[in-house]
């Protein structure tokens, strides 16, 4: 069965076999899923037949006789189907897919594992072969749908997707209304080379640097020109001296030495000119090559969308069959280029949303029939570039979500008070689907079922730098929209001068750049503002927000960049605008940790480092600065003086959900505490290091830094160690509670504690009444 161990040629043949299995198994899998929805399309069968045939040959060469039999049976069945001898029913497709799975698995075996594998799977292989032969010979006719299938035997009759709404007539091959997916891509994906990310980063560094260096070469052309002009001046001077000699009547030897000198000078000039031309050409060539290499290295990160989603049609198909549902799965935008990193990160969230849609969104054929819908449910995955972003939609025409029952559910789960829930808009309610623990209940209802694991989807998409939202389709069903950066590698930025240094602001994150005359700036209570298009915009020096020392003197004209975050819009005063650039983004050195207001770093056109500003973070810092931070220090002094006897205790609320944050803030503020908010652990950590608080109230699941990590850091910090920390989480299990308390939290509450006084009571227990000195 396996080649003799000492047969080296056999060993390398086994490697070849593996490579062949990988290619053909993919072809088979994709083609079979396509075939299921268009069983009479002979054009689809053709490549499948060839794939089975090639596998048969390859298995024979390496001596895997069991596989030869299997591939042969598959091939024969496909041949018969192609000749029109039979129409492949879902049960037969199941068998062929099962065969494909076995073949694929053998392609992943290591040396020495083959014997064990065949020993273990001998029965499965033989039974698959037997069933395939029976279908081929017509002994096994698929009257009752899944009977022939070794998998999904519980599946109800699985009729062909078609206009016929009666599932009982499924055995009759109805002509498909349209193929489930566009005709299979004839191009096979080019084989990819794996590369160590560190090496890739270094390649990118060198490629970028060679562009900079090549550009510097061009400067030498000017240097050579200067040289030529210098020689020209010597020549002119020689001519002048000779003329002077002649006028003064000084006799020159014959032959005239000046003639020789001037000839030499001219020759030198000609040589320099010729070399300049050669050099110029060479440097332009180098610049061109360096530029090409750089772009190529960059684009090597982009892969077509289809490469990341190849396995979904099969997954959807298998799941639908298992659940007794009929699904027409469409994919749009297979060739849309997507950053490899993002493509990888999308795999789990997309898979989850598709499974979710088939499982909870789409109804059974009967149910759909009763509702007057087409028995076959529609599921659509679409990728496109839109407004400089990658937009991916996952939509189904299933039962969708009832807004009012979602509202009830949210209240029932204790996630929000009934009066607040009443005022929530549809899109706000939809956000609850992505909250952790929305459907942790054992019984998965129609409503909460759609929320299963969506918090994980939310987190993963956000980690990839994107957003996800859900909306109801007007014609019924649900649509998820993911918006992600097209590439994580290149961004377009405005380079702005702040405190004498350049900083990069991503163009997508700034609203506009304006010039403001100094006399247009109003100053009220230490706050500066100016009017723009009828709106009053707060003005803050960018250097102050970034914590840089500005050496700039006041001027008559201010340059202002307008940034927006949520509902707030601010003007940041900068030194000047240096231009626009495309930057290749690199992550900040790990040793720097999470740096407030900074998202990444890059090299500018001169090859110098350029810090890329995180504008969203910056807006939060402005908020803090205006409402608490720097102004607080001014106010704090006066408050201490005037209000010295009575000082409010300060609580920092940390949660990534705005709803939760606001509920907590209001609860505590109404009780009399001074409350600040942060959107995640990293934000909180930066705030804690800058200001003093009496208590931290934190969520657990948050991006960038979770609550557990935040608590650990607080407990490790000499200054903050003694500060009480309370965790407020959706997670209710004893295990989660222990995890929180072990990290060092003083208390662990669940979010259902919002309703009653539990939360406030616990806060009072920990730090006492809001006013200093009021404690019992």
């Amino acid at each position: 069965m396996t080649p003799p161990p000492d047969d080296l040629s056999g060993f390398s043949m086994l490697d070849l076999f593996k490579a062949e299995v990988e290619t053909h198994a993919s072809t088979l899998e994709q083609g079979l899923v396509d075939l299921e929805s268009a069983p009479t399309d002979v054009g689809i069968i053709e490549p499948l037949m060839r794939a089975a045939h090639s596998l048969k040959g390859a298995a024979r060469i390496v001596g895997l006789t069991d596989l030869v039999g299997l591939a042969h049976a598959m091939e024969d069945l496909l041949v018969k189907a192609q000749e029109g001898g039979l129409v492949l029913q879902p049960g037969a497709i199941d068998l062929l897919l099962a065969g494909t799975d076995i073949l694929r698995k053998t392609g992943t075996l290591n040396d020495g594992e083959t014997d064990a594998f065949f020993a273990e799977h001998k029965d499965a292989i033989e039974s698959t072969i037997q069933h395939l032969r029976m279908v081929e010979s017509g002994e096994l006719v698929e009257e009752d749908g899944g009977a022939a299938a070794p998998v999904a035997s519980e599946a109800p009759p699985a009729p062909e997707p078609g206009p016929d709404p009666d599932p009982e007539q499924g055995a009759e091959p109805a002509p498909p209304s349209e193929p489930a997916v566009p005709a299979p891509a004839t191009r096979t994906p080019a084989s990819a080379v794996r590369i160590d990310p560190e090496i890739f980063t270094r390649m990118l560094s060198y490629a970028g640097e060679s562009v900079v260096q090549a550009r510097r070469l061009a400067e030498h052309t000017d240097t050579l020109d200067d040289l030529r002009r210098a020689v020209e001046r010597i020549d002119t001077r020689l001519a002048g001296v000779r003329e002077k000699f002649r006028r003064d009547g000084i006799e020159l030897p014959d032959p005239d030495p000046f003639d020789q000198l001037r000839r030499d000078a001219e020759e030198t000039m000609a040589q320099i000119a010729a070399r300049t031309a050669t050099f110029d050409e060479a440097s332009r060539h180098a610049a061109d090559l360096a530029g090409r290499m750089y772009r190529q290295v960059l684009t090597s990160r982009m892969r077509p969308f289809r490469e990341g989603i190849a396995h979904f049609p099969r997954m959807v198909r298998d799941l639908a069959r298992e659940l007794g549902k009929m699904v027409r799965f469409e994919i749009e935008g297979r060739d849309v280029p997507v950053d490899r990193d993002i493509l990888e990160r999308l795999d789990a969230p997309l898979g989850h949303m598709l499974r979710n849609a088939v499982d909870h969104g789409l109804e059974t054929p009967n149910e759909r029939d009763l509702n007057g819908k087409h028995a076959t449910g529609g599921l659509r995955l679409e990728a496109r570039h839109h407004a400089g972003m990658l937009e991916i939609r996952v939509e189904d025409d299933g039962r969708g979500i009832e807004v009012e029952s979602l509202r009830e559910r949210v209240v029932e789960r204790g996630m929000i008070a009934p009066d607040i829930a009443r005022d929530l808009s549809e899109s706000e309610l939809m956000e609850f689907l992505f909250l952790p623990g929305f459907s942790t209940r054992k019984e998965v209802t129609e409503v909460s079922g759609r929320g299963v694991g969506l918090d994980v989807v939310h987190t993963m998409v956000r980690e990839a730098g994107g957003t996800v939202r859900a909306e109801r389709r007007p014609s019924g069903g649900l649509r998820f929209i993911l918006v992600l950066p097209i590439t994580r590698s290149v961004i377009r930025v405005a380079v702005l001068q702040i405190a004498g240094e350049p900083f990069a602001f991503p163009l997508t994150q700034i609203e506009s750049l304006v010039r403001v005359e100094a006399d247009q700036v109003r100053s009220i209570e230490n706050r500066q503002s100016f009017e723009l298009d009828g709106c009053e915009i707060g003005l803050v020096p960018a250097a102050d927000v970034l914590g840089l020392k500005s050496r700039r003197k006041p001027t008559d004209v201010l340059y202002v960049v307008i940034v927006r975050g949520g509902d707030s819009e601010y003007g940041l005063a900068i030194d000047g605008y240096l231009g626009e650039q495309s930057l290749v983004v690199r992550s900040l050195d790990r040793r720097l940790g999470d740096v407030a207001n900074v998202s990444a770093v890059a090299l500018d056109a001169e090859g110098e480092p350029l810090v890329i500003v995180d504008v969203q973070d910056l807006v939060r810092s402005v908020d803090t600065l205006l409402h608490e931070g720097r102004l607080r220090t001014i106010r704090a002094t006066s408050r201490m003086a005037a209000d010295g006897r009575r000082k409010r205790k300060r609580v920092l609320v940390v949660d990534d959900s705005i709803t939760v944050r606001e509920v907590e803030r209001k609860l505590l503020a109404s009780r009399g505490y001074d409350v600040d908010t942060c959107v995640d652990g990293a934000d909180a950590w930066n705030t804690l290091r800058a200001q003093d608080y009496d208590l931290v109230l934190s969520d657990v699941d948050m991006p960038r830094m979770n609550g557990i990590e935040l608590v650990r850091r607080i407990r490790d910090d000499a200054r903050l160690r003694a500060m009480p920390v309370m965790i407020v989480s959706y997670k209710e299990s004893e295990e989660d509670r222990m995890r929180g308390l072990e990290a060092g939290a003083n208390a662990y509450l669940t979010k259902s504690s919002f309703h009653d006084e539990t939360l406030v009571k616990e806060v009072v227990d920990l730090i006492g009444e809001p006013m200093v000195g009021d404690d019992a």
Binding site: R202, S205, Y206, G208, E209, S210, V212, A499, E501, P502, L546, G547, L548, R586, L588, D589, R591, L592, G593, V595, A596, N597, V598, V601, L603, E606, G607, E608, P609, L610, V611, N686
Partner: protein
């Protein structure tokens, strides 16, 4: 293998590859091997005698420091240093780009609590790139003088000559032609640099 000791200039009819092969394959000059054998053996004896160590001598203001050679990567002119908001301070200065790779840059003066000589411009100062504990740093120094081998027997305790604030980062004093230099303890150096980031 050819045996011509004459300068292996390329013959007109010869392909460059062949010329290169001929150059590389030529026999070593007489006594060459013997000379190297002596040199290497002497060095070996030296090291066996007192486990001598090699270090780069750098100058910060008036003081000299010896940085173990195995920790030194390279020396660069100081380019543009770009601040990192919220992190740039006296010791950690920001980011520098060396051949397209971005390095963290720190002032060794500030770390050691020494005054930076104001009369020296950045054009004259140098960046000493050091590595250790799996990380790299570009350090601003006034000058890199030389790399030398030292005999540890000659090491004395450092209190005498080194500024008090820098003592913590050193573990002894060695004699260099320019005067006594405090030997930097790499582990403490990297710990100090890491602290400058928080």
């Amino acid at each position: 293998m050819t045996h011509d000791d004459a300068a292996p200039a390329r013959r007109d009819d010869e392909r460059p590859d062949d010329a290169a092969a001929r150059l590389l394959n030529r026999a070593p000059p007489e006594a060459y091997l013997e000379a190297w054998t002596h040199t290497l053996r002497d060095r070996l004896e030296d090291d066996e005698r007192g486990s001598r160590f090699s270090a780069g001598v750098v100058r910060l203001g008036e003081e000299l420091f010896a940085v173990p050679t195995e920790n030194v990567v390279e020396v660069h002119p100081i380019g543009t240093i770009r601040s990192v908001p919220g992190r740039t301070g006296d010791v950690f200065r920001g980011l520098v780009s060396l051949r397209g790779e971005i390095h963290l840059c720190a002032s060794l003066h500030a770390l050691f609590g020494l005054e930076e000589a104001p009369e020296l411009s950045d054009d004259e100062r140098r960046l000493l790139v050091v590595r250790g504990e799996g990380e790299r740093w570009a350090l601003i120094v006034d000058a890199v003088l030389d790399f030398e081998r030292f005999d540890p027997d000659a090491m004395r305790t450092s209190q005498v000559t080194v500024a008090k604030s820098a003592v913590h980062f050193t573990d002894g004093v060695v004699q260099t032609p320019e005067g006594p230099a405090a030997r930097i303890d790499p582990q403490r150096l990297f710990e100090g640099l890491a602290r400058s980031l928080t």
